[in-house]
Structures are given as C-alpha cells and as structure tokens.
Amino acid sequence: MGTSTQALSNRATDARVTEDFDRRDFDWYVDKLVAGLVFVCGISAILFVLGIFFFVTKEGIGFVFEKMDFREFFLTPYWSPSDAEDPEYGILALMAGTASVTGLAMLVAVPFSLGAAIFIAEFASGKTREVLKVLVELLAAIPSVVWGFIGLVIMNPLLIKWFDIPVGLCVLNAGIILGLMAAPIMTSIAEDALKAVPDRYREAAEAMGATRWQVIYKVVLPAAKNGLLGGVLLGVGRGFGETMAVLMATGHAVNIPNSVFDSVRALTATIAAELGEAVVGGEHYQVLFTIGIFLFLVTFIINLSADLIVRGIRKG
C-alpha cells in the first residue's frame, strides 16, 4: 500500500490545484515548438514552388529582358541555337512537337482510361477489381526513362515494320508511349472520381428500374464529370511536362509535323538535350531557362484549373 499512496499523491491537492494552471511545463513548450516546426514544414511546399519559379526565372530573365522578341520566340519555327553567327530561337516547332505528341497521347489515353475506370469502378468486383487496381498502380510506376527506352528499342522497329516507314521515332511512337504512360494515372484518378459518387445515387436510379448502364450513363458519369475532367487535365499536364520518354521516342527533329510519321522535338526534350552543352550564363543557356519559365507557367495553369474543377464538384 506504500507504493499506492506514493504513486497517487504525485498530484497537487485542492489548494494547489490551480497553481498548475499557471505553470507552463516542458510539454507545453514542446507543443509550441512542434506547432512552429510543422507550420514551417507546411509552408515549405509554398516556398519550394516559389523557389522553383524564382531560380528558373533568375537564370532565364536576362534573355527575356534583353534580347527576347516575343513574336519571334513564340511564332517562328526556326530553332538553331548553336549557330555561331546568327542563332535563332523560335519555339513554334517545339510547341508543335509537344502539342502533337500530347494530343495524340490524349486521343489514345482518354477513351481507354475512361473505359478502364468505368469497368474497374462499376463492373468489376471482388478479386478482379483488386487485381486490376494493383496492375494499374504498378503500370503507373514505370519510370519515364524506361518508357523512352521502350519507344526506342521496341516501338521503333515495330512501327518501321508495320507502316513501312524509314524511321519509327515519330509523333505516333511518342504519342503511343505517352498515352500508355498517362493512361494508368488517368485511370486511377477517373476511378476515384467515379467511386466518389455516393452509392445512394446509384441505388435511387436502380430502384426506378434503370439498368446498370443507364445508371452509369445517366447518373454516375454526369455526377463525376468534374472529377473526370480534372483527371484528364492532369493527364494533359503530365504529357506536356514529360521529358525522358519524348526525348527518346520522338526522333528529336525540329519540325512542324504534317503526319503522325514525322519526327518532332518537344520543349522539354530540347532542354534536356541541350542544357549540357550550353555555356552557363550564355544566351543559349538563358533561352533554355526561358523555355523552363514557359513550361512552369503552363503546367501551373493546367494544375490550377484541374484543382478548381475538382474542387467545384465538392462544393456543388
């Protein structure tokens, strides 16, 4: 019993109870310290984004203010940065390369990932569902450099054989690769959006005698519209910003494509390919950073719109 009273009398009694209320103990200060620490870490995300914008701009700003002719930069397709006498910096062809590849990729990926998402979310059940979800997740994890490698050594010979073309590194190749890359991510975002539609919507429609497909078409898809659109936008952003795969699979020729068999070059790939040989601080180097600013701003807008669209559904 001796221990008992000792253990229990560890606390102040009656008159001294309130003294504790004024005493900030060790734990009180630790709590405040942690609150500050996690706050700093929380805002670090904002700081990093600002940091990215700041440092990319810092390196590229010289060109933007001194030499850049916006019309020439955005509206001419002539890109010859290593021309010692008269280097030309027109990114129109590069933008066309990025746009054609991303566009084709979305053409491939959007219908298929939407279909796959509908199948996984609405038709598949039990084991099938689990296995498919895991597969999709694993496919989304394949690194982009591996995709580029696949485009280079597997798709390339296949396209040459199937379409009887001299070079298989082209819009089609990169589009398919990028489509296969983006599809798993879009599938899982779309599936999340479909799953977020409350079951009572489905039950209500089924109770009125609608078939499963009618329920999906008339109830689930409209309700998940914003989430699906947000997913597509994120896929676009993903394709737009993809670097290694398009670097390896497009053929890397500055060119406004006339057909899907033309080789092109993307904005991202240009930076990756040329930054290594550009002199730090030189004009070419600054131009590459200027492209970086452009990429940053475009993806920022895409992500912002995707976020606003998805948020719209939560509020509605």
């Binding site: 709590d31 670090s44 940091g51 990932s113 982009s144 390896m248 920022f300």
Partner: protein, 296 residues
C-alpha cells in the same frame, strides 16, 4: 408456364434485352481495360526475355568496362542508392511534418488551400523544370556543384508530395474521436499526435515512404544536370561527389554508346524496373496487410 400473361411476357422480354445490353457494355469496357493493360504486360515481358540473359551477380556487382560496351552496372546501382537515401533523408522528415500540419493543425481556409495547391504543383511541374531549378538553386546558387547533394535535394523537392499525400491520408484515417478523447484528458496537440495519432498511422506513412523510394529511383531528368553523370570511374565517397545513376545509365546506354551489346541496355532497364516495381509491390502489399488489421 401456364397461361401466357402478355404483360409478364413483355417484362421478361425487356429484362432479357436489358441484360444483353448490360453484358455488351461490360464486355466493351472489359476489353478496353484489357487493351490498356495487355500491351504493357507484353512490353514488360519482352524486356524480361531480352534483358534476362544479361542479369547476373556479376552484372550487378561489377563496373562497366571497355567504354561501357561490356561489364556491369554496379556504380550506377550504388549511385541510385546514394541519391535515393539522401533524398529521403531530406524529404521524409519535412514531408511527414508538412502532412502533420495539414492534417492536425491547419484550418479549412485559403492558406491551407494555397499549401495544397503548392503540393499539387510540386508534383505537376515538369521534371525538367525541377532540373533547371536544381541547377540554378543547388548547383550554382548554393554552390553545391554537380553533386549527390544537389541532385538529391532536387529529387527531394520533386517527390515530397508523395510522402505528404500518403502521410496526410493515413493521419486522417485516425478517427477524430480518439484525438478529442486525448485532448479532453489534458494532452497537448503534440502529445496526442505522438501517443495516439502517429502510432496508428505509422504503417501508412511507411507505405508512402516506400512509394517515394520507387518514384525517386526512377527519375532521370532532375538528376541529369545536378549530380548524375554519364560515366565516372570513381565510386562516390561523399555527398559532394558526382555519381552514376541507374536511370541515367539506361538513357546513356540506349542512346549514347554505339556498339554496345544489345542485352546490356535491356539488362539495365530490367534492373531499374525490378527495383521500382518491387518497391511498389511491397508498398501495396503493406497497405493490404494493413487493411486487414483494423484496430477500431
């Protein structure tokens, strides 16, 4: 089937029709899913077939020889381990704390929305822009040079959203009632987090960390100009050294080295994929095991 009631007959007819339509759509979407997954599996199968021959202990544990045309991938493998380890040492603590802030402290206001938007953007900014940032900030401005430190910092900033999102999710899976019970007993926020919230979400956080290992190991563009090099005869001794890396090694082997035996790049690709997918599988398995082990 006695007297054929016409209305009943119609109803069952309609049902049959509906069922047919139903089955047709199920088939259609199932096929789309299959079309999405099969090519990838075929491609992966090709990689395994073509690269499998290259894989051996020797391939994993020796350096490239003869101008990278023969030999193994050891320096690249080791370099990737360096890069991933240092990147995680930096991003996991910050990421977990950031997630704790978002889940346990932040209110529902514009400021929190800004942070969330920033996280989405960190994940969404092109990897090559991260590379430019790493070059401008860590290599040049902070004068770390092209080094493991600069490359890992770049990777850390880029993949931190993975840890944040996974951690926030597993923290939010802990019911609010537990926190309130704890607060009511006089526990501070931090005591509550440490004694109740974290012990019940630590496995979920680990899942996110493993996922980040996989993401970090596969990235190429962010390390190209910040710390990874095509070839170096030296193994890294500290974070201020340059290093080879598996992902970049694949790019180099596939595009920059003429006359390399074909199975070597396939072997490199296979090692990289195996590393990434193993990590992902572990993370998924972990998550499933967790789901079957409810504590409330």
């Amino acid at each position: 089937m006695a007297t054929a009631n016409p209305t009943m007959f119609q109803a069952s007819d309609l049902n049959q029709h509906n069922e047919r339509v139903q089955r047709r759509y199920q088939l259609l979407f199932g096929l789309m899913t299959l079309l999405l997954i099969t090519p990838v599996l075929l491609i992966l199968g090709t990689l395994v077939v073509k690269g499998g021959g290259a894989i051996s202990w020797e391939f994993l544990l020796t350096a490239p020889t003869d101008g990278m045309r023969t030999g193994g991938v050891f320096p690249a493998l080791l370099g990737t381990i360096w890069l991933v380890t240092v990147a995680l040492l930096l991003s996991v603590p910050i990421g977990v704390f950031a997630a704790i802030y978002l889940s346990e402290y932040a209110g529902d206001n514009w400021f929190t929305r800004m942070i969330n938007l920033a996280i989405i953007n960190l994940a969404g900014v092109p990897s090559i822009v991260h590379a430019l940032f790493g070059l401008g900030a860590f290599v040049l401005f902070f004068r770390f040079g092209t080094s493991i430190l600069a490359a890992s910092l770049t990777l850390a900033v880029m993949t931190m959203p993975v840890v944040i999102v996974a951690t926030r999710e597993s923290l939010q899976a802990v019911p609010q009632a537990f926190r309130e019970a704890c607060w009511n007993m006089g526990a501070t926020r931090w005591q509550t987090i440490r004694r109740v919230v974290l012990p019940n979400s630590i496995t979920g956080i680990l899942t996110g960390v493993i996922l980040e290992v996989s993401r970090t190991a596969g990235e190429t563009a962010p390390i190209m100009f910040t710390g990874a090099v095509f070839f170096t005869p030296f193994l890294p001794q500290s974070v201020f050294d340059q290093t080879m890396a598996l992902s970049l090694h694949l790019f180099v082997a596939a595009t920059q080295v003429p006359g390399m035996a074909e199975e070597i790049p396939f072997g490199v690709a296979l090692v990289l994929i195996a590393l990434v997918l193993t990590m992902n599988s572990v993370s998924i398995a972990f998550r499933m095991w967790l789901r079957g082990k409810k504590k409330w």
